[in-house]
């Protein structure tokens, strides 16, 4: 049942709440009263102190968790239908590559699950390897690569089937600062080239300001949307990190975060 009015919207989150262990002793209200719309092609970040439910919100969008109340619509379908249609690409902090598959075979895994032929798969995986600039490493096993390279493979795998929506949960959280900044630029390049929609969870203020069109600041216990910061910095490059406009946005996000941490 696709809704023509909602079809241009990538994600519509409508009155969503999530309670874990409902009715039990350890009942936790993780999210409450979330309304959020993500436009197709947008890069949106979720930021907030730990316990604000940003990862939970990402999992609700990806239908890895079901909301207690409210609805999540993805490209006009329920999140559940979208997952069954394999509309999602996911990247986690832990690269989640399979040790026993070589790099190319890891990238091809989602294609195998969709029943692509061997030729189609190897053509696409070679293309994706080029996209993340790891052409020489297709025959390696994941553990033979550095953390940053593994994360690039993970991104290549997530994008291999051209998902409509890319969900990323602190994908660069475990990387050192230099690699992280490099990966941010790579991600923006890939995002421009593929024109996909990205929902990105982070706890880094500069990262959210550098990457996103909009930054959603969440407050904790229960997680609520405190504010949404529009970030219009045009095409980013390494110079953007020295741009006064970038500092201004980072300050705005930081102040919003201070406010929510003060509440909690």
């Amino acid at each position: 049942m696709s809704n023509p009015v909602l079809a241009e919207k990538a994600v519509v989150i409508d009155g969503v709440a999530k309670v874990f262990n409902e009715g039990g002793d350890s009942e936790v209200a993780a999210l409450s009263g979330i309304d959020l719309t993500v436009e197709a092609g947008e890069f949106i970040s979720l930021i907030g102190p730990s316990g604000c439910g940003k990862s939970t919100l990402l999992r609700l969008v990806g239908d890895l968790l079901a909301p207690t109340t409210g609805e999540v619509t993805v490209f006009g379908k329920s999140a559940h239908e979208a997952r069954l249609d394999q509309d999602y690409g996911m990247v986690f902090q832990h690269s989640g590559l399979f040790d026993w598959r070589r790099v190319l075979a890891n990238i091809e895994l989602p294609l195998e699950l969709r029943g692509w032929s061997r030729d189609e798969r190897s053509a696409r995986s070679a293309e994706m390897l080029g996209l993340v600039r790891l052409e020489d490493f297709g025959g390696h096993y994941p553990r033979q690569l550095s953390g940053g390279m593994q994360q690039r493979v993970s991104i290549a795998r997530a994008l291999s089937f051209q998902p409509k929506l890319l969900l990323m949960d602190e994908p660069f959280g475990a990387l050192d600062e230099m690699t992280r900044e490099h990966m941010q630029l790579e991600l923006l390049r890939i995002w421009r080239e593929t024109q996909t929609t990205v929902v990105f969870v982070t706890h880094s203020v500069p990262e959210s300001a550098f990457l996103s069109n909009r930054v959603v600041v969440l407050s904790p216990r229960p997680g609520r949307i405190h504010s949404v910061v529009d970030v219009d910095l045009g095409d980013r490059s390494d110079d953007t990190r020295q741009d006064p406009a970038f500092f201004e946005k980072a300050t705005e996000i930081r102040e919003a975060l201070r406010a929510v941490e003060g509440d909690g």
């Binding site: 999992r59 997952r83 249609d85 986690f92 399979f98 096993y141 553990r143 390279m149 593994q150």
Partner: protein, 270 residues
């Protein structure tokens, strides 16, 4: 690259060979030097002589015992893996069986050998095979099911995001994830199967098996022949251990690639 690999292998095998040979030389020297009587501790060279002199008997005995150990080993492995698969698939079965398996595993199973003799008779091989099967089964079952369950939650979430079925997750994630666990249990049970077979044979049965060759020669104060039988049995245990290592290498090329470290960089996983 081949040179490096060969040199790598030599550097792994070298020290144990040197230590082993030195140990045998020391043994020989101590027995000769201190005049230790041969029936207490024979020299390695006289054990070797006995192996040669008694070769037809020992060859037949190791063949009989080897058959019991290897057939019991294979059946025990298959049963352990099969039950691990079933318990992973059906949670309630797992909750009921695994604690029980841990308890049974803690009981000394070889102590059941005389009872198995009463159940299955002592003339055939079934009684001793059953001991081997029981000894092999539990480590394989416990390790394999642990490997099937110990999957990183992100990997399961990732497969869910691809709308993968339970069966696909089992085949693509759980089974390969369990392989190193299974291989560890294989290293353990391969030599254990020989031990179990021989101990079971101590409780009676046909006289042409290694365990009985050892006990009957000890009874006739022919310790050197008993030692020769022990030596042959050790060789069988070592041989099975080597097969276990080979299976591990062949079934998990990604581990070998990591160990050889031909192009290893810093591991990125926490």
């Amino acid at each position: 690259m081949i040179f490096r690999r060969l040199r790598g292998r030599a550097s792994v095998l070298g020290p144990p060979i040197v230590v082993g040979v030195a140990g045998l030389v020391l043994w020989e020297a101590v027995v000769r030097g201190f005049g230790i009587r041969e029936f207490l501790l024979p020299r390695p060279t006289s054990i070797l002589e006995e192996v040669v002199d008694n070769w037809p008997v020992l060859r037949h005995a190791i063949w009989e015992t080897g058959w019991i150990a290897v057939s019991g080993l294979l059946i025990g492995i298959m049963a352990g893996v099969a039950l691990a698969f079933l318990t992973t698939r059906f949670r309630t079965l797992e909750e009921g069986l695994t604690p029980l398996a841990v308890v049974v595993n803690a009981t000394p199973i070889v102590a059941l050998a005389p009872i198995f003799n009463a159940w299955f008779g002592i003339t055939g091989t079934l009684s001793n095979q059953s001991v081997v099967i029981a000894v092999v089964f539990f480590p394989v079952f416990i390790n394999t099911s642990r490997g099937l369950m110990a999957v990183h939650p992100d990997e399961i979430e990732l497969m869910h995001s691809y709308a993968a079925s339970k069966w696909t997750i089992f085949r693509e994630v759980r089974v390969p994830n369990a392989l190193p666990f299974f291989a560890n249990s294989l290293r353990l049970v391969a030599p254990l199967s020989v031990i179990a077979a021989i101990v079971a044979e101590y409780f009676g049965g046909p006289q042409d098996r290694i365990g009985n060759v050892i006990t009957s020669n000890v009874a006739f104060v022919r310790y050197d022949v008993a030692w020769a039988a022990i030596g042959v049995a050790s060789a069988l245990g070592l041989g099975l251990f080597a097969v276990a290592l080979l299976v591990e290498r062949v079934s998990m090329p990604w581990r070998a690639a990591m160990v050889e470290g031909e192009f290893t960089t810093t591991p990125g996983r926490e």
